[in-house]
């Protein structure tokens, strides 16, 4: 009996990595199931899963007359770079992933990219905005979202329209993503002729912003641009409101995009957030679902509202599928060539990748929108307020109640 178990165990172990047959495409990724990036990372995974389930329900991806079912291999990276390095190696070597999706966040993506390039495996990136990763001569990375350099471009333009003499306080988390965003925003603000009266970073683990807000008040700023990720952004919004900072404009990165942000109540009213996608955006897709269809499919399957992390997860799958179909093969070189040639518009907007060796894979065409939480009939709703071509409501300026 013991021997029988042993043979069975060896059989299972041997079959493990090879479970995927010829008609299956294996896509690997790590997800921050635990740790500080959990909320956004899991939302991104749900977007990927929605795409996978839809593709498989429709018979899989068709290429060269064959139909390929999609299989995911995922691991928890615990929001840590060290884990990402080990796990992407495992995904490629042991799990034989033919294609990869990125982890969430610029830092983890940069770490994963070192491994994926080493093995020459294609990685589609829906959660790494920092542009530096694409300036290292990589060949198999493809960024689907707007780079960090343009995150606050819309906020600066919308602010300039409302107040060409605004004084800005830049207060941001001391992490690679936020620093990259603010470095570019500084230049956008100078180009727009706006005055910068405060420019400071805070530690990513900071929990109390009272003293910083007093500094903002002392600086005489009437506009705030900054934040970083999830908990700090929400805390900033609440404290800016409670300490009556007198600001007329507040743009915070990442946190206000989450539907959960509305639980801040009056403190959320009027806050703007740069967003890669909003359900109200109405691009005319060349293929795939419309924004409305995606939002409905997501809510049917996951019983929640789709945010831009969901949308950037789904787009990873949709564009990989398109590239494989265009290439007529799952051969990595042919799929890479198809991605290099790609210039498409989907529910997510336009996507096109840089192909010059210095910036290969950097996103060139996708545009962000600026969303704002607005109180309508006693309920907080998120409206798109910039650019004019995508807006669903006018900008509320100055902030209600003069935060």
């Amino acid at each position: 009996m013991k021997r029988l178990w042993l043979i069975a165990a060896i059989g299972v172990l041997a079959a493990g990595p090879a479970l995927a047959d010829d008609d299956t495409i294996t896509i690997g990724m790590t997800v921050s199931q635990t740790g500080s990036l959990n909320v956004d990372s899991v939302a991104q995974l749900h977007g990927c899963e929605l795409w996978r389930d839809e593709v498989n329900a429709h018979g899989g991806i068709t290429a060269g007359g064959k139909h390929y079912k999609v299989r995911f291999v995922t691991y928890d990276d615990q929001s840590q770079g060290g884990r990402v390095q080990q796990l992407y190696t495992r995904l490629i070597v042991q799990d034989k992933s033919q294609f990869l999706f990125s982890p969430y966040s610029s830092g983890l993506t940069a770490t994963a990219a070192v491994i994926t390039e080493q093995y020459g495996t294609i990685m589609l990136i829906g959660g790494g905005a920092e542009a530096k990763t694409y300036e290292l001569g990589n060949k198999y990375l493809f960024q689907l979202i707007t780079p960090a350099d343009y995150y606050l471009y819309g906020a600066v333009q919308a602010l300039k329209e409302k107040n060409p003499h605004a004084s800005i306080a830049f207060v941001y988390s001391d992490d690679p993503f936020s620093r990259a965003v603010i470095a570019a925003a500084r230049n956008h603000a100078k180009d727009a002729g706006l005055k910068i009266v405060l420019d400071e970073s805070y530690g990513p683990t900071n929990t109390d912003f009272s003293a910083i807000i007093n500094k903002i008040i002392s600086s005489g700023a009437d506009a705030f641009l900054g934040g970083g990720h999830y908990p700090d952004g929400a805390t900033l919004a609440r404290q800016l409101h409670e300490q009556k900072s007198g600001l007329k404009w507040v743009s915070i990165l990442v946190a206000p995009d989450s539907p959960q942000f509305a639980t801040l109540g009056a403190a959320a009213d009027g806050i703007t957030v740069p967003s890669q996608w909003e359900p109200q955006v109405k691009y005319k897709p060349d293929f795939g679902p419309t924004s409305e269809q995606l939002a409905k499919a997501f809510s049917d399957q996951f019983h929640g509202d789709a945010d831009y992390h969901v949308a950037s997860g789904y787009i990873e799958g949709l564009l990989l599928q398109k590239a494989i179909e265009e290439a007529g093969s799952i051969d990595p070189e042919k799929v890479t060539a198809a991605l290099n040639k790609m210039d498409v518009t989907t529910y997510f907007g336009r996507d096109k990748f840089a192909t010059d060796p210095q910036h290969h894979g950097l996103q060139l065409a996708h545009q962000m929108v600026l969303a704002q939480w607005q109180m309508k009939n006693g309920k907080l709703v998120k409206e798109v307020v910039w650019p004019d071509s995508a807006k669903t409501s006018g900008v509320v300026y100055p902030l209600p109640g003069g935060m």
Binding site: S36, V39, S201, S210, A211, P231, R238, E242, Q260
Partner: protein
């Protein structure tokens, strides 16, 4: 905010002072206090500040249970054992919390506009003032308990010399469990008070745990009142240093002070006071 740091640190220092155990579940217990507030307010409609006694009692009971499960057998072993044991419990609690709630943000909307204080253009929110007042009241209560009640005196006796305390008939094991329960209850209440001021996630405890350790060392390990004074001091340093230096340097400044304090006053501020008094 400093008073709340102090309150949290009093929990750590009480446990260390009595049983030489560094409680690494402290951050998780602070988070338990936050979630206690959230659940009581949202699920049962309890007014935010009325949750304080409930969190205090629940924290105490959890602390006593935790003592028997994870700490009791480690008390006389090398400090590393209890460190590992409480660290393991911390990982389990944070893991279970993440699996249940994710790292999603929770906010308990509390507002006390009548209590808020305006000095020129600067405003001190009512919730912060209330938290400082309540922290001071609880700290005063603890002082009274430790110095004026029979059980409190037993706690101090065990902290001073456990064997001697046993010889005079003090049930030391029960006192240890009681002290651990009190330490955890203080962590829970400080979490509850933080929850009235800021939004939080399951992972929020780590940052406060770190601050609590700094405050504990500054105030002198094992000295609850020293911890409260050091907590208020740290809060003041944060508030007063920020206008004069970039915000990202405040933490560096705090830790420089911490190292200087360790070098000059290894026993903490309270020790300094005692030495001066003796002199």
């Amino acid at each position: 905010m400093g008073a709340v740091y102090g309150l949290a640190a009093m929990g750590i220092t009480l446990i260390w002072g009595v049983m030489n155990v560094i409680n690494l579940t402290h951050g998780a217990m602070i988070v338990c206090g936050m979630f206690g507030l959230y659940l009581l307010v949202n699920a049962l409609g309890v007014p935010a500040y009325a949750t304080l006694p409930l969190v205090l009692v629940a924290g105490f009971l959890i602390g006593v249970a935790l003592y028997w499960i994870a700490v009791h057998r480690m008390v006389d072993r090398p400090p590393l054992m209890s460190l590992l044991s409480t660290f393991a419990v911390n990982l389990m609690l944070v893991g279970a919390g993440t699996a249940t709630w994710g790292t999603m943000l929770f906010n308990v909307p509390v507002s006390l506009p009548r209590l808020s204080l305006s000095l020129g253009r600067y405003t001190f929110p009512g919730t912060h003032i209330m938290a400082a007042l309540l922290a001071a009241v609880i700290a005063g209560g603890l002082f009274f308990f430790l110095h004026r009640t029979r059980i409190g005196k037993s706690v101090r006796a065990v902290a001073a010399n456990r064997e001697a305390a046993e010889l005079v008939g003090i049930p030391t094991t029960r006192v240890l469990a009681l002290s651990f329960g009190l330490g955890v209850a203080l962590a829970g209440v400080s979490g509850m008070l933080i929850g009235t001021m800021f939004p939080f996630t399951v992972l929020a405890g780590d940052a406060y745990q770190l601050k609590s350790f700094v405050v504990t060392v500054l105030g002198g390990f094992g000295n609850p009142m020293g911890a409260l004074i050091a907590g208020v001091g740290l809060g003041l340093v944060e508030g007063l240093a920020t206008p004069f230096m970039p915000v990202s340097w405040t933490l560096v400044f705090e830790f420089v002070l911490f190292v200087v304090a360790l070098l000059v006053l290894p026993g903490g501020f309270a020790k300094f006071r005692r030495v001066r008094t003796a002199a």
